[in-house]
């Protein structure tokens, strides 16, 4: 059975472009031009992935994200312009899975959808606990981090931070989510904790910390553990 995608986008051209390029990849694509139409379609039939454009004419996407999260664990991808940082972060914090910045390549969109699908159902099934890429292998259950066959010694906080990224491997995790999950909800404004601990982690994991391969920075938004 084909995967069902709901694309919520008010621009006709972009909608048509996404529909044709995603259909070619074997997705069954439904489109909605507004939040209200998207809500109606969600009641009718639940898709497997939602691609949500920011700045829709009939209001804030936040309500839709909240509505979806009440009932489903399906992945939500945000599509935004570069200037909509604050809104994008708000939606990620509210439970959206990842984002794309306009203009984007179709290839990027497909990659994000694939990553999002891999995490589908993480709320029900056991979460991702293992990660392997380019000589880095992490096993959360064993609490082991190996780089090119050598065990790395991480401090408890470094491990917690890395573990949080592993559980969302491939997806962006916002500053707020990381601070809240690793240090506690009262630390959500302390971005310097992240900067300093990420620098330490990079120094241990990356061959060239200035051009990281694994621990990627999403400027102004958060971090992402590379999966490809």
């Amino acid at each position: 059975m084909n995967l069902r995608l709901l694309v919520v986008e008010d621009d006709r051209e972009i909608r048509a472009m996404m529909q044709s390029s995603l259909s070619v990849e074997g997705f069954e694509v439904q489109t909605a031009v507004s939040l209200s139409e998207a809500r109606a379609m969600l009641q009718h039939r639940t898709p497997d992935v939602v691609v949500l454009d920011l700045g829709l004419p009939d209001g804030d996407g936040l309500a839709l994200v909240a509505l979806i999260r009440q009932r489903h664990s399906l992945p939500i991808l945000i599509v935004s312009a570069r200037h909509q940082e604050a809104e994008k972060i708000r939606l990620l914090d509210a439970g959206a899975d990842d984002y794309l910045t306009k203009p984007f390549h179709v290839g990027e969109l497909l990659a994000r959808i694939r990553v999002a699908m891999r995490h589908r159902g993480t709320a029900l099934a056991p979460a991702v606990t293992e990660h392997r890429l380019d000589g880095l292998s992490i096993d959360l259950a064993q609490r082991s981090v190996m780089l090119h066959g050598r065990a790395l010694h991480l401090t408890p906080t470094e491990f917690k931070l890395l573990a949080r990224l592993v559980r969302s491997a491939g997806r962006v995790v916002t500053h707020r989510q990381l601070l809240s999950d690793v240090w506690g909800p009262e630390f959500t404004e302390h971005t310097h904790y992240l900067r300093l601990y990420m620098a330490q982690l990079r120094a241990k994991i990356e061959a060239d910390p200035a051009e990281p391969r694994h621990l990627l920075t999403e400027t102004g938004v958060g971090y992402r553990l590379a999966t490809a």
């Binding site: 401090t155 310097h192 300093l196 051009e211 990281p212 920075t217 999403e218 400027t219």
Partner: protein, 501 residues
């Protein structure tokens, strides 16, 4: 200050002076009694009367004249030590002395008044001259008002209050101005005429209300308290002072308007260049996109596959360029019309550079960009998205305008963080260093499309971080663009734990 209550009070000193003068004349006349005639003794008393008349007010000086004649009569006119006068000759002498004393007293008093008023005139003229000079040197309305205040305090003993009209026509009253004074000042501005004693308008007041300026150019008003209707010269002086102040305020207001008008003209001119350049920057890529797309549409069968590839690459390349131009333009407008507060968080330059490199590698398949980022860089308080955009723009330009290696070098000094992008392209002439940072100033480096707002945005970003963006030629050819921003003196501290065993 000589308030009215003090002048009404009885003053001892003039009467003591009168007594002293009479005593001195009497003693002098007694000493000379044997050697001189009665006439010479009378002259001594006359001298006392003249001295008194010149130095004292009219009443004490007349009293002095009467006292002198009385003392002269008592002590020296026979029969001595009585007020009786025994010969007709002496009566005449006494009467003439009295009349002469009175006339001299009046004349000297008048002379004294005239000398005083001449002195006052001179000092007032001097004050006006100095004030005109000082006001000409002032550059702000506040300074002019302060100068005017001091001049009024020096010129008049009574309290002076000022009100000035701001640029929006709202009056800016001084703190502590009583309501009735303020009402008077407003009435004065409304009528554009001097009010108060001696002016024919509202003579019942005890203060002058003098407008600053005339009905068409009202700048404010001044209230001077404790004044007399008879002080015509004082009123004239006050009006002359106020005319000077009004002139200065008018001049300053005009200067402000001129500046605003100039800024507006400049802004409009910039907007014009902006629109012209932006339409050029948008039109040419749009033209090539439409050209390529229409070729693919209508000539699809005739085109070689390689040719089709080239057209498609041109469409996506030009679209990316359009996207960059739009991005830069929006960001520039947002930054230069900065009404929105900018967010500043602790950021790591190493991270920003890493993200920028990740973004750039897509456009730099040959790895021309070499990064050299110092270890243990301090954190900066910045808007990471903007700093990233600055670096992306500099690297894009370097890729576009040069061949060969490009170095991204990031270092910290104790007070500064410096990020440099160094290329080996054609050096920008020194004369163009300022020009290239102007929005849409075009330099035809290697005939390529203009950098648009890229560098102007970079500089605006640097400045919004209290930093700078400069360019200089490299010794062996090429350009080095350097962004420098001050480091916060205090770095955030946290207790880092040591590695688990």
């Amino acid at each position: 200050m000589p308030s009215s209550t003090e002048t009404e009070r009885f003053e001892w000193s003039p009467w003591a002076a009168v007594a002293g003068l009479i005593l001195a004349a009497t003693l002098g006349a007694m000493v000379l009694d044997r050697d001189v005639s009665l006439t010479s003794q009378a002259m001594l008393y006359l001298l006392a009367v003249v001295v008194a008349a010149y130095n004292l007010r009219p009443l004490p000086s007349i009293a002095c004249a009467v006292a002198a004649v009385t003392a002269f009569n008592f002590f020296f006119v026979p029969p001595r030590l009585t007020f009786a006068v025994d010969s007709r000759e002496h009566v005449i002498a006494l009467a003439v002395t009295l009349v002469v004393a009175l006339v001299i007293s009046r004349l000297t008093a008048k002379l004294r008044t005239e000398t005083r008023s001449a002195q006052l005139h001179a000092s007032r003229a001097h004050q006006l001259q100095t004030l005109a000079g000082t006001l000409a040197a002032t550059t702000s309305a506040e300074a002019a008002v302060a100068v005017a205040r001091r001049a009024l305090d020096v010129a008049f003993p009574g309290r002076a209050t000022m009100v000035t009209l701001g640029s929006e026509g709202a009056d800016e009253r001084e703190a502590g101005t009583p309501d009735n004074t303020h009402d008077g000042l407003r009435a004065c501005m409304r009528e554009a005429a001097t009010l108060g004693p001696g002016t024919g308008r509202w003579p019942g007041l005890n203060a002058w209300y003098i407008p600053l300026g005339d009905a068409s150019q009202m700048q404010g008003a001044v209230c001077i308290e404790g004044v007399q209707a008879a002080d015509v010269d004082g009123l004239e002086h006050a009006q002359a002072l106020c005319a000077l102040v009004a002139q200065a305020l008018h001049r300053l207001k005009m200067a402000t308007h001129m500046l605003a008008a100039e800024a507006e003209a400049q802004r409009q001119q910039m907007q014009g260049t902006f629109l012209a350049a932006i339409s050029h920057d948008l039109r040419s890529p749009l033209a090539s996109i439409m050209g390529a797309a229409s070729a693919l549409q209508s000539q699809s069968e005739k085109l070689e596959p390689a040719e089709k590839e080239r057209l498609l690459a041109s469409i996506s390349g030009e679209a990316r360029y359009l996207s960059d131009v739009t991005e830069n333009t929006l960001q520039f407008l947002q930054l230069t019309n900065a009404s929105a507060p900018q967010q500043r968080t602790w950021e790591s330059m190493e991270e920003i550079a890493g993200a920028v490199l990740a973004r750039m590698r897509l456009r730099d398949p040959d790895h021309r960009i070499r990064a050299s980022v110092a270890k243990d860089l301090p954190l900066i308080q910045a808007d990471a998205v903007l700093i990233a955009q600055l670096l992306v723009n500099l690297l894009e330009n370097a890729l576009k305008y040069s061949q060969g290696a490009i170095d991204l070098v990031i270092r910290a000094t104790p007070t500064q963080l410096r990020a440099s992008v160094k290329d080996r392209g054609p050096s920008i002439p020194g004369a163009q260093y300022d020009q290239i940072f102007q929005p849409y100033a075009r330099n035809d480096r290697s005939g390529q499309r203009g950098a648009g707002l890229g560098l102007a945005l970079c500089r605006a970003i640097a400045q919004s971080h209290h930093g700078s963006l400069t360019v200089k030629a490299r010794q062996a050819g090429g350009n080095s663009f350097t962004f420098a921003m001050p480091l916060s003196p205090e770095q955030p501290r946290i207790d880092m734990e040591s590695a688990a065993p």
